[in-house]
């Protein structure tokens, strides 16, 4: 099965799994059709074959338990195999390049950490971990890249993540695979995998209005975030410094989540916290005021910039550029 190229080692592993599934299916189909035809040949009314006298009915229990157990064992093995491969998709490696992808009826908007933007096209470097932060401005879409054998639904009002390491240069198609209205089939684009020099070249020659984090910093001031949140360079102008949590070192730290359980602050967390504030969502703790929701105030482009900026305030995580990060091993 190789007429669809494999552009990552994960794609290779999925293909091996698929090949395993195909082999098991062929074996079962062979058994079912084989037995059916054998039975027809031997036991058809008017068949010339001698019919054996001992009928298997008295062994029925042994047969039932035999094929039930065999089915269970095979299925459980398949389940474990496929689940282990899937779990990997939930663990993006540290230092992945973060690219923001926003779906709207009917196009994909892509924003890079360096401030470059494009539509219906996604450029990534060869051999480097890339994390896509996906969100939608309207309905549910789905970002699907067949050559990488991955996809994920793209929901309005929250971030979803997909990550991969491309291992083959070239141009490949990506699609929206969740029906999103009458322009659904036009919502496709091209994934371009470039080697590192070509990629650097492409970044240099694509116009960018300041890096994503720089834009985020400007938004952080202009929207009044800096009035309450400490962010290093901009101390809050209020007299009381404890009005809101500090943004310094927040990204990547562990904080109590909406349901009280500890969660690690990532892009999705920051994005959701800006949009879904309000009574009951976060424990107010020692702070006296509650943050207003920025739903409808900030667009997804701006949210991406803010998330990128807040990342730069944590020294532990590289600011999405990840220029020095060595490619981690995909999976385990």
């Amino acid at each position: 099965m190789s007429w669809l190229p494999e552009a990552s080692s994960h794609a290779g592993r999925v293909d091996v799994l698929l090949a395993g599934l195909v082999l098991i299916s062929l074996a079962v189909l062979g058994l079912v059709f084989g037995l059916m035809f054998l039975n027809i040949i031997r036991f058809r009314v008017g068949s010339q074959m001698p019919v054996p006298h001992e009928v298997v009915a008295h062994k029925s229990w042994r047969f039932e338990i035999g094929w039930t157990t065999a089915t269970l064992v095979i299925f459980f093995a398949l389940f474990v195999w496929a689940a282990r491969l899937y779990v990997v998709g939930f663990q993006p490696p540290a230092g992945a390049i973060q690219i923001y992808v926003t779906g709207k009826q009917w196009m994909w908007k892509v924003q890079y950490p360096g401030g470059q933007r494009e539509i219906n096209s996604l450029h990534v470097p060869l051999g480097r971990a890339v994390q896509l932060l996906l969100t939608s401005e309207d309905v549910i879409h789905d970002f699907s890249i067949p050559v990488l054998r991955i996809k994920h639904d793209v929901l309005p009002g929250r971030y979803q993540s997909l990550w991969f390491i491309a291992t083959r240069t070239g141009s490949f198609r990506f699609y929206c695979t969740q029906f999103c209205g009458i322009g659904h089939s036009r919502m496709t684009g091209t994934l371009v995998v470039l080697n590192s020099t070509d990629y650097a070249d492409w970044l240099d020659h694509t116009p960018a209005s300041g890096s994503l984090a720089t834009r985020g910093e400007a938004l952080f001031i202009s929207n009044g975030c800096s009035g309450c949140h400490v962010s290093g360079r901009y101390p809050p102008d209020a007299q009381e410094p404890g009005r809101a949590p500090s943004m310094v070192g927040l990204y990547g730290s562990i904080v109590p989540g909406p349901d009280g359980r500890p969660v690690r602050v990532d892009g999705a967390f920051v994005h959701d916290a800006i949009l879904h504030t309000g009574a009951g969502r976060f424990p107010k703790g020692r702070y006296t005021t509650e943050m207003p929701s920025f739903r409808g105030v900030l667009g997804e482009d701006e949210l991406a910039a803010l998330v990128a900026y807040i990342q730069t305030l944590s020294s532990s995580t590289p600011p999405g550029m990840g220029a020095l990060a060595s490619p981690p091993r995909e999976g385990r």
């Binding site: 389940f79 996809k151 639904d153 089939s185």
Partner: protein, 546 residues
């Protein structure tokens, strides 16, 4: 048509007025009313499918606009699921056969039965009104927020129609459950029930337990639409994934509504045409019940890429593998039944064997989608389309045709033309595979479903699929023609033309309005062919001319 001499006493001709048909409480007549209705909807959904396949022979789309295409597949999905597949076997063959197989006079609640048909017809008219006056482009799944905020189509009448059809399903389910509990003939113990009734019982349990969830979901959808209460819409503070959870909590069990009755039919047909009791009767019976039970616990496998938690995905994947075990048990038991039987390859048996083969393909490709990592690649592509058509069309429609041919002599008192029947069965099998097998490959290559236009590299497989669809269409039209012909010209059927064991074969063909001249008493297990032969010997000795 004038009543034929000597046939005034059967249910078809007892009283021929339109009024007597529209106000009938006879389960056999209601079954025929239903049969006529779902045939109309099947033709409607089939025409939509034909237009879809015709459109897709060219990458840029051959005949309609993107908007019309979206409306066509929405119509195809909604009509085929709720107005054909869900009711199909239960309300037609089930309605006709449950009392006959139980040895009863009618269902427990004959008037409720008639009411369910009226609800169904109203539901169908609402849906068709919505789909034609305005159109709808949401797909049959009505995912929010597309269906609430971003569509110009007539969501409301269609959703109201689907809501109403749910009550029709619930009425049928309640009727079957109570009838099977209460109306079994003397001697008809649970383990003497034909396997068709076990399957219909399991189906009814799903009707009664799952359909209300669909009703609630659709009500919430209307609530949000009219009163702007945030339930599913993130802009109002709702959660779009909640809709998917609720929708699939109904719609996955509904998949088993659409396949369990088919399994029941196949158990009957395989036993009869092998002239041998079903191998592992109790395993087949209980596998129906366990499919219905586990079927409630697997809805999350529709949402592996939707943004649910890792933990949920792993659990739902495991449960999805588990639900396929009882199906495998059934397949092996049917093969065991064939072993050592006296196999006759009449039309119903050909359809039943087609069912076994195509259902197995559908089930095995289900494993590809229950497996997490491969599901991520294959879901929402044509692979899924092919997979569920193998179950719904290859499985359920084959089984429906198997049942229709098998019980046609009992229902109408006429035989269908055997040669044409076998031809149609073979055409269905080959046409179906040619239509849907290429779609597995398209899905692996990444072609998304619900695309009105597509990249040129997918054209060859799409043309193959469309070519298969034209053969499939022929396989549907043929039975429509020869069944109609047989109503008037078919050879007279005897009471038990297949040498089958069920109680329905002990009464005349077609049965009298009151089903049995004498209330039957059951003294043997189901599928006891030795007892049947003895009984026939006895009758022959009593009436030498018989």
């Amino acid at each position: 048509m004038a009543p034929m001499p000597g046939s005034e006493r059967n249910y078809l001709w007892q009283d021929g007025t339109v009024r007597s048909w529209l106000l009938t409480t006879d389960h056999k007549r209601i079954a025929l009313l239903y049969m006529a209705s779902i045939t109309v909807f099947f033709v409607l959904g089939g025409i939509a499918a034909a237009l879809i396949r015709l459109h897709l022979i060219v990458p840029t789309g051959a005949i309609v606009s993107d908007e019309t295409y979206s409306r066509l597949f929405t119509l195809h999905g909604i009509v085929m699921v709720w107005l054909f597949l869900v009711p199909s076997i239960p309300v037609t063959l089930g309605n006709f056969l449950v009392p006959l197989m139980l040895g009863a006079r009618d269902l427990a609640f004959p008037r409720l039965n008639l009411l369910s048909w009226y609800l169904f017809v109203m539901a169908g008219m609402l849906v068709v009104y919505g789909l034609f006056r305005g159109g709808l482009e949401t797909g049959w799944t009505f995912y929010t927020p597309l269906s609430t905020d971003y569509t110009q189509g007539r969501v409301l009448p269609v959703v109201a129609g689907v809501f109403l059809s749910g009550f029709s399903s619930i009425a049928t389910g309640v009727n079957f459950i109570i009838s099977i509990h209460q109306l079994r003939a003397p001697g008809m113990t649970w383990y003497r029930l034909p396997l068709m009734l076990w399957a219909l019982y399991a189906t009814s349990v799903i009707f009664v337990l799952a359909t209300p969830v669909l009703g609630i979901t659709l009500l919430l959808l209307g609530f949000e639409h009219f009163f702007h209460v945030g339930v599913f819409d993130p802009a109002l503070g709702g959660d779009p994934l909640l809709f998917q959870h609720l929708f699939w909590f109904y719609s996955h069990p509904a998949v088993y509504i659409m396949i369990l009755p088919g399994m029941g039919v196949v158990s009957e047909v395989v036993s009869t045409f092998c002239h041998k009791p079903v191998f592992g009767y109790r395993f087949v019976a209980w596998s129906s019940i366990s499919i219905a039970a586990i079927g409630f616990l697997v809805w999350g496998h529709h949402m592996f890429v939707a943004g649910t938690s890792l933990y949920a995905a792993v659990v739902f994947s495991m449960l999805s593998f588990l639900v396929s075990v009882p199906s495998a048990i059934k397949v092996f038991n049917w093969l065991g039944t064939m072993h050592g039987g006296a196999i006759r390859l009449d039309t119903p048996m050909l359809y039943a064997m087609g069912f076994i083969g195509l259902f197995t393909v559908g089930g095995l490709t289900g494993l590809f989608l229950a497996s997490l990592a491969s599901d991520v690649h294959l879901t929402q592509t044509y692979f899924v389309v092919a997979h569920f058509h193998y179950i719904m069309v290859g499985g359920m429609v084959s089984a429906y045709f198997a049942g229709l041919h098998y019980w046609w002599p009992k229902i109408t008192g006429r035989m269908y033309p055997e040669m044409w029947g076998r031809t149609a069965a073979a055409l269905l099998f080959f046409g179906f595979n040619l239509t849907f097998f290429p779609q597995f490959l398209l899905g692996y290559e990444g072609m998304p479903r619900r695309y009105a236009t597509y990249p040129a590299q997918f054209q060859v497989l799409n043309v193959l699929s469309s070519a298969g669809a034209s053969i499939l269409a022929l396989a549907y039209v043929l039975p429509l023609v020869y069944f109609t012909w047989s109503l008037f010209r078919g050879a007279r059927a005897t009471d038990n033309p297949w040498q089958a064991t069920g109680l329905e074969w002990r009464t005349s063909s077609p049965p009298p309005t009151e089903n049995f001249a004498q209330a039957p008493i059951v003294t043997h297990e189901a599928y006891d062919y030795a007892a049947l032969a003895q009984a026939e010997d006895a009758t022959r000795r009593e009436t030498p001319h018989g």
